[in-house]
Symmetry: D2
Subunit: 358 residues, 4 copies
């Protein structure tokens, strides 16, 4: 439910609305628009009549949100949410960003070298995993906190902000000894954007914990779509974070699981879902062409397709030696491909950004 | 199997190779390259050793095709197949084409008006169905041959070549009376490109009949991917036409069926499959954003995404009055959107065609 | 729309109802229930008010069918349709049938031997393909009419009725010479049940032709579900046959295409769809465990699961030498497995048929 | 890798093998078979030659496991793993179990009443959720620890052991106050079987934590298949638990996400996957017909289909007042349906258990 106050509404008017919202057990969400105050009501408001708010002094109108997700819907707030930090802006009319880096942080030299290379190629941020969700318990699970240290060094050396994944709130082990902090706290000590992976998109308890621990800082959270999550489920997971205190959510698509042969494509690139999400939600939407295609020969072209469909940026796996990457080598590109992609994105933005006015 | 002859190979050398091919029950396919003759061997050649051809005079090399499809594969012929007719060129480095028109031909006025409108908007061809495959026996099944007459008139009035679908080799009825010719023969009397729909992609007997009836004319055949057909199955269906005498096949994607909610998208747009097909096959690839998305709000943006992924053209549903179209109104756009799409395609081709050298 | 006449309704009353139905361009479908006449109205009746029929003399009630399919729905006729021929009964409370035989008829000896073996094992019918829909144009396409001759001989030798597939209304070729009749007519010269395959489920022109050519004989038509057809599409395809004159349709499930690994299962066995179809339609429902699983190790157990879900019978691939079958060997079982399956089915029917009263 | 010792192998022989296993960084898994010791080697053993173990004294043979999962595969141990506790046995040749109860624990009266009813109906265990993973942050998230207290009371009153889900290792809140223990520890204080839900099947950090906290007790863990998880991914997730110290894993299928219309079935019942899992793994396999179908009209029949496919038991939602259940009412059955299901299962076991000798 959204309550629009009249232009001349007093603070006392607003206070009374807020009090009533809280009386019903809901949470108020105030935002000052141009000259008018708009108050969101978060909670299961269908049990309460609009009249209960319309009757208060200073209230101009009461609008019900028909979507199951609220804060992240365009219906609730039609303005694009723009995520801004360290000179990078994601979303809105800004030039789409290119985030590049390896699947896994392997060692200091590797990540620093890649960071410098992708920086030179024009990338806006560095990606790299210190904690890796692997389908087999016998596969390399990431370097852990030392990997984060290398990421921090790579950030310093390259000047690029970093994004890295927290795989949960369990304790990662190195040589069978659990690290001092849980995985999420470790990652929060370092990262500029917190990534939540595909496999955790429906770990609702984890999402809630993420929201609580980042509510104060407002650290941007990049949430990947589950392999088979519907658009509705994806936006509800984003709502778990936004509705629990951190509105700075970035959506990221990475291919969905369908009947298509994995011989050709690891997943089916859900390109049209970019456009659907941009219509339905106010959040920025990125696309990960590396996991989606699983094939470095396709990465550049699908990157451009994603941007054409309205993506606010790309998350691309890059390595100087894809053949010998610790994980996901077949979908990794070298930094000269990153340079091509950056060039494509700029060229596209220059010629097409004015043509589509979402 | 592909047999490359030496540069100085004589006609007699070639004749002997051809004879041996036929002795094994295979079909030879001769094509004169730059200075050298290349002979394709069509059939299940895995039963025969390369040696049987290598030993003949004038043979330089023998290459096995590892794909189950032969003629339509890049492995067999790496050069882009370009379909050319009435001034239109589809495939290769040509500017992607825009084919527009209504789902169904409704009457003379409708199709002539739309033809003129989309011509003015810059479209290259007119689409429209006189025979409609409908999932319900109680739905409008198309006007039949009179619809083709209206299409022909629209072609004359607009100057646009036409593409229309043959739904089979059965006899369409008008007022319970079967038409004089079967559907395919009716369509062949009129069309510039013959369309085979999604639902018939695996009607192998029909595909074979199409190939036989068009082998002599080489009339281009636009084959749509089945809703759940794999890339392999799709290319094998194309091979049914190419291998039975008509190599002028145009592939057309139109969305696949997945778990995604039909509320948002009628089908999942298989954009990355465009890139895969362009790598794997030498045939031109079109995309139909109207059936894929089922939503006119998405058509323009997904059109551009398809072009970015390498599509050689678009097949778009257009109508001056989408709300009242006889079928598929929700996915129909008006001609001013067609004009935008044509403009997008030209702009894209101008700035990007040189950047990707497939 | 269904019109129930009053108990004492006269012939003249009925005639007037029929006339009005025809005046609207609809088709009447009369069936004499216990003491009362029920008249189905086939066509797009939503344009006409019930009142137009209620007002006629002798009419008791008018009921609208809410489903898009009419004749095949339980809503239209709640009684199970039972298909009966040559001593075999399919549907209703009858013991589920077991139809067994090879994928392809290979030669006289093969099919006669298999027929005798499966007869001995207790099978109720013989299956075998003379015309084969193959995804590759270079694969064996079936023996054609000679294959039908062998099937007829096998029927004679074993006493089992036969079911075989018509792949279309094109002309099959033997040594490049088209057969005298089209495929459908050839098959109609021989078969006891006409099979329409998965790949043709949406070839609506073909379905219509099948209905017309079998309307008079009422020859049972076994219609297989498309690999990705929805329940609604499947029943609408059945309606194409029933609504065009032949109500004797048997539905057959054979697995659907999903994300599941083909390493384990060729298709996903759509077992619950059996129960859904039995609730939603009055037609008998068979299951084909061979194509569904693609794995002979699974065939027997999945057969029993299908029967447990309410299937009226099974269509099982059988061969005395599965390793060397001309097609689909990996999913073929030997006749001793058929004997086990027949035994399972009988045992199940004996102990469970009374427990579920659909 | 599996190392079989010779019959007369000494303890010293075994010790040396164990030492070498540990030297390579692998983990030994000893199990005493009939007269012979079998030593599993857990880890990425493909880097080490069999010869390194064959050469040790007392070793009879060394067998490589070709599957990516080890402990849970039939290849590793062909014997059925039987889970036994409180008089209940799950797996092997035992009569399949029926576990019944509500989706959510709503209050003391509700769960005690249902427990007594399903006990009377013949159920073997009680299910019920105190922590609920909900796709919307605004939906009821479960009663938390008080709900577990009610479950414990219901266990005492009915005599049925209980199974309930832990949704993570976060802190559940009641009136905005986090509970004292994390969710997993709360559940471990009470339950007889620990359930891990569909949405957490790929939360690898959580799976590992579960394994560690239950390694000593060996508390059975019921792991549900992810909505789109492949068989391989599912078994690898089971391996995360077994390979980290708790081999007592029970697999549970609950329908997969496909293109099928949710109007008819909430998910596609993956019945054949039961048979595949029983072939591929030594773990018991249950089926949840309630979540799979989402329709109480289908639950009983699909239950029987699952048992026919080889399931070792069922997990069925039951409530005395399905219409007013706090969650998932449409798929809930009443206890008289549970009684029918129990009767079906017993009858099936009586007549068919001897016929299939897996």
């Amino acid at each position: 439910m959204i309550i629009k106050m009249k232009k001349g509404a007093t603070e006392s008017n607003i206070d009374k609305v807020v009090t009533r919202i809280e009386d019903y057990g809901f949470t108020p969400d105030l935002s000052q628009g141009k000259g008018t105050m708009v108050i969101g009501v978060i909670g299961e408001t269908h049990t309460v009549s609009e009249q209960k708010f319309k009757e208060l002094a200073g209230v101009e109108s009461v609008l019900r949100i028909t979507r199951p997700y609220k804060l992240v819907s365009r219906e609730y707030s039609s303005e694009d949410r723009i995520i801004e930090f360290g000179g990078v802006k994601i979303g809105g009319k800004n030039r789409p960003v290119v985030i590049a880096g390896p699947c896994s942080v392997e060692n200091e030299e590797q990540i620093v070298r890649i960071a410098k290379e992708v920086k030179k190629a024009g990338a806006d941020m560095l990606r790299g995993g210190a904690y890796k969700p692997r389908s087999s318990p016998y596969s390399f699970q990431g370097l852990g906190r030392p990997g984060l240290d290398y990421m921090a060094l790579a950030r310093k050396e390259s000047g690029l902000p970093i994004v890295t994944e927290a795989t949960g709130i369990h304790y990662h082990k190195i040589d069978n000894t659990p690290e001092e902090k849980d995985v999420l706290d470790n990652v929060l000590d370092y990262t500029d954007i917190l990534q939540i992976g595909t496999r955790n998109m429906k770990s609702y308890g984890f999402l809630q914990t993420v929201a609580e621990r980042t509510a104060k800082s407002g650290l941007p959270v990049l949430l990947k779509r589950g392999e088979e999550a519907t658009i509705k489920e994806f936006l509800l997971s984003a709502e778990y974070i936004a509705g629990n205190g951190n509105p700075n959510v970035i959506l990221c698509l990475r291919g969905i699981r369908t009947f298509e042969e994995t011989r050709w494509q690891r997943y089916t690139s859900d390109i049209a879902a970019i456009s659907v999400l941009k219509q339905e939600s106010n959040l920025p939407v990125l696309f990960d062409p590396s996991h989606a295609t699983g094939d470095r020969e396709l990465v550049r072209q699908i990157s451009l397709a994603a941007i054409s469909a309205g993506a606010d940026g790309l998350l691309v796996e890059a390595h100087y030696d894809p053949e010998n990457a610790a994980s996901d080598g077949p979908e990794c590109v070298t930094s000269n491909v990153i340079a091509d992609i950056v060039e494509d994105v700029k060229l596209f933005h220059q010629h097409f950004s004015g043509r589509f006015n979402r």
